[in-house]
């Protein structure tokens, strides 16, 4: 029995963003861009989608004169990621 995968997480870049944040307490936009090798524009769009869904929180501030965007996974994001991984298992181990 295959469980339907969360369409919000079943996307290369959004899954990468959430996987990065699940392992960190918080990460800067620049860091996420470096690790995912995504363009700034595309990354902004996908972060916004995750933010609207309540999967991540986004804090905008300044470090000196430079704008600083920090992302952090929410409880809802953690729960959704865990469900996604469990649902993924049904494709790899269909007996579950």
């Amino acid at each position: 029995m295959y469980n339907k995968l969360d369409p919000l997480l079943h996307s290369e870049l959004r899954l990468a963003i959430v996987s990065l944040l699940i392992h960190t307490d918080k990460a800067e936009f620049v860091y996420i861009r470096e690790k995912t090798k995504a363009t700034a524009g595309n990354l902004s769009v996908q972060i916004e989608k995750l933010f609207v869904a309540g999967y991540i929180s986004v804090k905008k501030s300044f470090r000196g004169k430079k704008p600083l965007t920090e992302c952090k996974i929410t409880r809802k994001g953690i729960a959704s990621f865990e469900k996604y991984v469990n649902d993924l298992k049904t494709y790899i181990e269909p007996d579950q």
Binding site: L5, L13, I22, T24, A27, Y31, E34, L88
Partner: protein, 193 residues
């Protein structure tokens, strides 16, 4: 990285693994905090001993005020690290709160040390031992775990020593159970940590 690519389950697992692997913070960055505070305490210890042994200064224990200097390089280094790493890991957060509990406990001991005849050495050894041990568990680094255990042993020994020997014990403990694990962490190969 694109968003419209059709993902297979194995693609998903590869992405999750890659991202988790790449977002491991560099735990060796923590070594410099041990090195900074190790030398600050060592300096305070030597100064206390010199004032006690070779001068008529009435309050040689004031030498420990020197530890306040330690906050300057610590603040500069941590700000630099945050700027450089662009990431704050769960391990970083646990470490900060661990040493914050040490700081708060230490201040309470210092504030009320007259209540137990200024004999704060065993309590401080115990506090340091707890934090070094827990840092070792948090960073999964055995020399720090051993350092914590050595501090606990030092706590028991300290109940039987006079002030001069307590300073000597502080000196020995800070070198073998604090500075040495700090240096081992700093120069450990990344793959071994």
């Amino acid at each position: 990285m694109k968003t419209d690519k059709k993902l297979t389950p194995s693609d998903s697992i590869r992405i999750i693994n890659e991202m988790i692997e790449t977002s491991k913070g560099n735990i060796q960055d923590n070594a410099n905090y041990f090195i900074i505070w190790g030398y600050v305490v060592l300096l305070a210890c030597i100064l206390h001993f010199v004032l006690l042994k070779f001068t008529d200064f009435e309050k040689p224990y004031l030498a420990w005020l020197i530890v306040l200097i330690g906050f300057i390089p610590t603040t500069i280094y941590s700000k630099r690290q945050i700027k450089k790493n662009k990431i704050f890991t769960h391990i970083d957060r646990i470490n900060i709160f661990l040493w914050l509990t040490f700081g708060i406990s230490y201040i309470i001991f210092i504030a009320y040390m007259s209540k137990f005849n200024y004999q704060i050495f065993p309590f401080v050894f115990l506090l340091v031992g707890n934090c070094v041990f827990m840092s070792g568990i948090n960073l999964k680094f055995k020399p720090l775990i051993a350092g914590g255990i050595i501090y606990w042993a030092g706590t028991i020994v300290s109940f039987y020593l006079s002030l001069e020997y307590l300073l000597l014990l502080t000196f020995i403990l800070i070198i073998i159970a604090y500075l040495l694990p700090g240096y081992l962490l700093k120069y450990k190969k990344e793959s071994d940590v």
